[in-house]
Amino acid sequence: MPSPRTATYRAAVLEALFSEMHLDDSVILMGEDIGAAGGVFKQTEGLFAQFGGERVIDTPISEAGAFGIAVGAAMTGQRPVFEVMFGDFITLIMDQLVNQAAKINYMSAGQFNVPLVLRTAVGIGGNLGPQHSQSLHAWPVHIPGLKVVMPSTPADAKGLMAAAIRDDGPVVFFEDRMLYNLRDEVPDGDYVVPIGRAEIKRAGHDVTIIATGRMVHIALAAAELLAKEQISAEVIDPRSLVPLDVDSLVASVKKTSRAVVVDGGYRQYGVTGEIASTITEHVFDWLDAPVLRVGAADVPIPFSKSLEPLVLPDARRLAGDAAALVRGLR
C-alpha cells in the first residue's frame, strides 16, 4: 500500500482546476489577479503558465460585469470558474447571480444551462476588517436554482471543485481562506465528491454537532474536549448546503437526540436557523433539547485584535454550549 499523499487545501483545489482544465477545453477561469499573478492567495498559481491568457482570464475590478460575461459564456458552451476574491464582494454580483444565473435554466425551460462555478474566499482572520471577513453563504442558499458547497478538508475541496465544474448548473463554492494552509490526505488523480452528501467526521451518541466549512475543525476540537467530560459527540459536515443531505443529518440526530448547528456565517436569519428548523421538523419527537444555533456574532467583523477573536466560537466555548445542552442546562 502506498503511503497516503497529503496536500494543502489550496493545492487540492488547484489540483482539481488543473485536472478539469486538462480534461475539458471549455473550462476557463475568470477573476482578478488570477493570471500571471497567480491569485492573491496563490490559489491559481501555475494555471496561467500552463493554459495561457485565453483560458485564465484576468478581469478588471468589475465584478458585476465580469460575472455577467461569465454567465453569458456559460450559456454558450464554456464552463467558467469565476473567482470573487473575497466573499464580501459577492454583494457586487448579486443581480447577475440571482436574477440571471440561478433562473435561466428555469426561465428557458431547459433551453439554456449555466454550467458555472462561482468560487470565493470567506472567513475571519488576519484582521482584514468588516468588508473582507464575512461569510455570506446565507445569501445564495436562499435562491432556488443555485447549488452551494462548502468544503472543510483538502480532499473535499478537490473533489467538490471537480464536481462543481462538471455540474451543468451554477454552483457557488465557498472556501474558507483560513483553511488554505491546512494539510491532509488527498486522493491522487481524478477525484470527485458528489454534491449533496454529508459526511460523519466523528461518530458519537450524546449530541450531534452539525458544522460547516472551517467550523468542522472547531467542532472536532470541541468533541475532543467533550470526550474528556464523558460526553460523546458526533460531528457531521453537510459539505453541501444546497442540496442539503437532510437524511444523514436526521439519522444522526435521531441517534443522539440533541443537536448543535455551528456555522461561520451570521446567526441571524442564517444557515444555522435553516438547518435547525429542518431537523426540528423531522425529528421533533426524538429531541431531548431544543436545537442550538451557534454562529458568528451578529456584528460587522471588527478589525481590532482584541475583538476579532470574539466573533466566532472557539472549541472551548462550543464544547461548553454542547455540554450544557446534554446536561439539560439549556
Partner: protein
C-alpha cells in the same frame, strides 16, 4: 460631439438589399408591428396577465440588425423584446403562446414576455432587468472568440440602460478583449416615464462608446436601411477581429412604457412628428419608389401576416396553461 462620429443615412448605405432581402425587411417589420398590435388588443381584452412592453415604432432597429445575423450569431434582448425575438427567427405561435402564458410557449409560459429564450435561433433572452442582458451578449462574444468561428453577439438595450454601471463595465471589457459584440442602444427618448435628457449627462449617448475607444455611430433608427448599413459595418469589424461597435439608434416608442401607460409625459407635437417617420411606411414608400414592390404586393404581404397572426393567436389561446407538475422542473440542469 466627437469629430470621429459618423452619421449614416439610407443614401450612404454600403450595400443595398436585393429585392428578396428588401421584402424580407418589410415582412419582418410588419410582422413585428402586427404582433404588437395584436398583443395590445389581447392585453386590453384581459387575455394577458402582468405587464407588457411593446416596441411599435422601433421595428427598424431589430430588423436592420437581426436580418444580417445567422442562427449561430447570438442576441441578448431587453424588456421591450418581441421585435428582437421575431427578427431573430422566433416562431410566431410559440412566442405568442409565451406572451399569453401558455404551456406551448418558449418557457412553458413560466417566463412570459420578459423572459423569452430561443436557443435554436441564438436568442439569449429578453430580461426584466434593465441592462441585464448586456454582459450575457459579451459573454457569448467571448465564447465565439474562443471558438474562432466568426460568430458575433448583439446586445439590444434602451436609453434607460445608458445609466447602468453594468454597461460601463462591459463596454470596457469588450474593448480590452476586442470581443465580437455589437452594443445597440435603441434611444427612444424615454427611460420608462422619464425623458432621457432629465437623467442622462453628456452631449450624446455615443460618448458612452467613444470614451472606451469603441467604434461608435449615431444611426437614424427609423430607417431600416440606415440601421442595416451601420450593422453591416459593425458586423464586418466584429467578424474580422476588429472588436466591438456601439450603435446609438435614435427611434421612438409609439406607445407607452407598457400597455396602459397614459403617456402624459409625452409632447403631442413631438409624438406626431415621430409618427411621420414611421419606419414601415417610410420603407414601403422607398420600396415603391425604387420599383421593388407595388402597393398591392405590400397590401398582400400585410394580409398574409394578419392571417399568420390570427392562426398563431388561435393556437395559443387553445393551448393549456402549465400544469402543477411544471412548477418545479428545470430548477437544476
Amino acid at each position: 460631439m466627437s469629430t470621429s462620429l459618423q452619421t449614416t443615412t439610407a443614401a450612404s448605405a454600403q450595400s443595398l438589399p436585393s429585392v428578396q432581402e428588401a421584402l424580407r425587411l418589410l415582412y419582418l417589420m410588419q410582422l413585428i408591428r402586427t404582433f404588437e398590435e395584436q398583443v395590445r388588443t389581447l392585453y386590453s381584452g384581459g387575455m394577458i396577465a402582468g405587464l407588457v412592453h411593446l416596441c411599435a415604432g422601433q421595428e427598424a432597429v431589430a430588423v436592420g440588425v437581426c436580418s444580417l445575423l445567422g442562427a449561430d450569431d447570438m442576441i441578448a434582448s431587453n424588456h421591450r423584446g418581441h421585435g428582437h425575438c421575431l427578427a431573430k427567427g422566433a416562431d410566431v405561435a410559440r412566442l405568442m403562446a409565451e406572451v399569453l402564458g401558455r404551456r406551448t410557449g418558449y418557457g412553458l409560459g413560466r417566463g412570459g414576455t420578459l423572459h423569452i429564450f430561443d436557443a435554436a435561433n441564438g436568442n439569449l433572452g429578453t430580461t426584466g432587468i434593465v441592462g441585464g442582458g448586456i454582459p450575457l451578449a459579451a459573454g457569448a462574444a467571448l465564447s465565439a472568440k474562443r471558438r474562432g468561428r466568426r460568430q458575433v453577439a448583439v446586445s439590444f438595450f434602451g436609453d434607460g440602460a445608458l445609466n447602468q454601471g453594468l454597461l460601463f463595465e462591459v463596454l470596457n471589457m469588450a474593448a480590452i478583449w476586442r470581443l465580437p459584440v455589437l452594443f445597440v442602444c435603441e434611444n427612444n427618448g424615454f427611460g420608462e416615464f422619464t425623458a432621457i435628457e432629465d437623467v442622462t449627462a453628456g452631449a450624446d449617448p455615443i460618448a458612452r462608446g467613444l470614451t472606451f475607444g469603441i467604434a461608435s455611430e449615431i444611426v437614424d433608427g427609423m430607417d431600416v436601411l440606415a440601421v442595416r448599413a451601420a450593422a453591416q459595418r459593425a458586423l464586418a469589424r466584429a467578424r474580422d477581429g476588429g472588436g466591438p461597435t456601439f450603435l446609438v439608434c435614435n427611434t421612438y416608442r409609439f406607445g407607452g412604457h407598457h400597455v396602459g401607460d397614459k403617456q402624459d409625459y409625452k409632447d403631442d407635437n413631438d409624438a406626431k412628428a415621430w409618427r411621420l417617420k414611421d419606419p414601415i411606411e417610410r420603407f414601403s414608400r422607398w420600396l415603391q419608389d425604387s420599383g421593388m414592390a407595388t402597393a398591392s404586393a405590400i397590401a398582400a404581404l400585410k394580409n398574409d401576416i394578419d392571417e399568420q397572426l390570427r392562426a398563431a393567436i388561435d393556437r395559443a389561446k387553445a393551448a393549456p396553461f402549465a400544469a402543477a407538475d411544471d412548477l418545479g422542473i428545470h430548477l437544476h440542469a
